[in-house]
């Protein structure tokens, strides 16, 4: 009886929540503007880069990627050595950083005593807070002299039969840059794979141990395969960081625009050429070529990051008792 005379509570809330209230409408509009700003800014970024690069895109088209001369004076621009340097330094960095960061991540999730898990993870994540330019400074004055006097000669003597470790030893080189890059991306790979490994349900581990596996066998046969796509995602995320890293690489790679088999030789990367030449570019075409490089770098990191997100997302969304495939 009472319900028929009093307006239903559902009607009232619906009315209030659907925005008849002025405050609510203002609130939502303000937030919508902030939320819209993100895609709008990003779209504007792509547009501006495209417009900036237009001259170079028109002149070189896709051939920009395969041209190997970069000569601002003669107005000849090709990005192949830059792309090569970017890819090589990033892949080398991954080769160094992946085993280390996975080792640390697995140790921290599976083996470490509880008391030291947090402190070690914290210390390694602090590495991610160090500004890139400080890595560069340290690299120039501490890492390079050490590598040049101790590590590089040793590598040349023991592995000198490989083309990668031949030729004169310079301080600033592809290998120096890769080593500093490895240190810089390690915290990212470590913390993401730690999250992924933590998400592996305990039952998986217990099942392996119950079948008589040693702890290492449990890790390698059960836990790592279960987290596989997430770990690959973490590695790709690290790759994305390495591709776009600028300052430390610019300071350590030697900035020489050629493709060389030897890792002791200087190289150049896409990010480094922008950092070095952009504020001094004299001609419109030079600017356009640099903006083209920036656009390429953006597209590559975008694809790499999207792939990484997709893989990590797949693991974290998996039901906890799910299949291991």
């Amino acid at each position: 009886m009472a319900t028929s005379t009093v307006p239903g509570p559902a009607a009232v809330t619906a009315e209030t929540l659907e925005g008849s209230n002025l405050g609510d409408r203002l609130f939502k509009s303000a937030l919508t503007i902030a939320a819209l700003a993100v895609p709008v800014l990003m779209g504007f970024l792509v547009y501006e880069l495209y417009v900036g690069a237009h001259l170079a895109i028109q002149k070189y088209g896709v051939g920009f990627v395969t041209g190997s001369t970069w000569d601002p004076v003669a107005e000849q621009f090709g990005a192949l050595p830059l792309i090569f340097g970017t890819l090589l330094s990033s892949v080398l960095a991954l080769i160094i950083a992946v085993p280390l960061s996975l080792g640390v991540a697995i140790y921290l999730t599976e083996f470490a005593p509880n008391a030291i898990r947090q402190p070690i993870a914290f210390v390694i994540e602090l590495l991610a807070a160090i500004p890139s330019v400080v890595y560069g400074l340290w690299g120039i004055f501490v890492l390079i002299p050490f590598l040049k006097s101790a590590i590089f000669p040793f590598l040349r003597e023991t592995l000198g039969f490989l083309p990668f470790f031949q030729g004169p030893i310079y301080g600033p080189s592809m290998l120096s840059a890769s080593i500093i890059l490895a240190i810089m991306i390690m915290p990212f790979i470590m913390s993401v794979s730690r999250e992924v490994l933590n998400a592996v349900p305990g039952s998986q581990r217990e099942a392996a141990l119950a079948l008589g596996a040693t702890r290492w066998e449990a890790v390698i046969s059960t836990i790592v395969p279960y987290a596989r796509s997430g770990i690959i995602g973490a590695i790709i995320l690290g790759l994305g960081r390495a591709l776009g890293e600028t300052m430390a690489v610019t300071m350590l790679i030697g900035n020489r625009n050629e493709i060389s088999a030897s890792l002791f030789a200087p190289g150049y990367t896409m990010a480094a050429v922008i950092a070095n030449e952009f504020s001094e570019a004299a001609t419109d075409l030079h600017f356009a070529a640099l903006a083209y490089v920036a656009l390429l770098l953006f597209v590559v990191t975008f694809l790499v990051n999207a792939a990484a997100r997709l893989l990590i997302w797949r693991v974290s969304r998996r039901p906890s008792g799910g299949k291991t495939t």
Partner: protein, 281 residues
């Protein structure tokens, strides 16, 4: 029997390797901090913090210009980036199912992975090329763009942590939605959002690449954001690749100051967040 011993030995050996990996991974941080202190601390003095640089060859200069520059450029960036980031974060947490929030979330991830040098080029074509001169504002715009996704994701995550019952209680008492969001939900999450924003500010304060052709750097004390302005990371870069021994000493000292600022902010932010979550259970 033999096989079991072998398997156990392999297991122990792999654990040993992992401990070695931990040591190798922690070593760089210790080495970097150590060299910064050893090489940088001796050059720190009152002059260093209070005076602008002197021409190469003379002594007694400082990096006051860069400290002021960093404070101004990062401050303005924070004024733009933090409110936008928080607003977008609230939107994504309050209206999670809408198409806009899905797009914004995705784009924020893209933005977060965009190399900072690319953002620098964008700020150049957007602001510097149109104004025809380098400026601190262009640098702030680039840094703000880097802050937005970081602040946004933290805000969203923290708002999602606020128990639903709080929101329901406020709505049941007749609060309109905007007041519920602002004075109940946001207030509960506020300390975490503040520390998250501080972390984002600390991260961007150390960025060099986006400032290279926006704020550009300068050797003089300046309070004018509409002209080239110095910043600590730019000063480290210029001094590090410069030819003079004196400059290298300054590079180390400036880097020490920079890293102290960044690390103190990061550690404070993290400790504050952790204590807070501890209290909440």
């Amino acid at each position: 029997m033999n096989r079991r011993i072998l398997r156990r030995w392999v297991s122990n050996f792999m654990v040993g390797l992992m401990v070695a990996a931990v040591i190798v991974a922690v070593l760089p941080l210790l080495l970097i901090l150590l060299t910064l202190i050893v090489k940088g601390a001796s050059s720190l003095s009152l002059n260093f913090f209070t005076r602008p640089p002197v021409p190469a060859g003379e002594t007694g200069g400082g990096v006051a210009h860069a400290i002021v520059g960093t404070l101004m450029v990062v401050g303005v960036a924070g004024l733009i980036g933090v409110p936008l980031g928080i607003g977008a974060g609230i939107y994504c947490a309050e209206y999670p199912g809408t198409r806009l929030s899905k797009i914004t979330r995705f784009i924020a991830d893209v933005m977060n992975g965009t190399p900072s040098i690319v953002v620098g080029v964008f700020a150049w074509t957007w602001i510097v090329a149109r104004q025809k001169h380098f400026s601190g504002y262009a640098g702030s715009a680039a840094l703000a763009m880097l802050m937005i996704p970081m602040v946004m994701r933290t805000t969203e995550e923290l708002i999602k942590l606020v128990p639903h019952s709080l929101r329901e209680a406020a709505l049941a008492l007749g609060y309109p939605r905007w007041r519920t969001s602002l004075s109940i939900v946001l207030r509960t999450a506020l300390p975490g959002i503040v520390t998250g924003s501080l972390l984002a500010i600390a991260r961007t304060a150390g960025e060099t690449a986006p400032l290279l052709f926006t704020a550009l750097g300068s050797q003089f004390m300046s309070f004018n954001m509409n002209e080239p302005i110095a910043a600590l990371p730019l000063t480290v870069f210029t001094y590090a690749i410069g030819p003079y021994e004196e400059w290298h000493r300054y590079a180390w000292a400036t880097a020490l100051v920079l890293i102290l600022v960044v690390l103190v902010l990061s550690i404070a932010a993290r400790l504050a967040t952790r204590r807070r979550f501890g209290l909440n259970g």
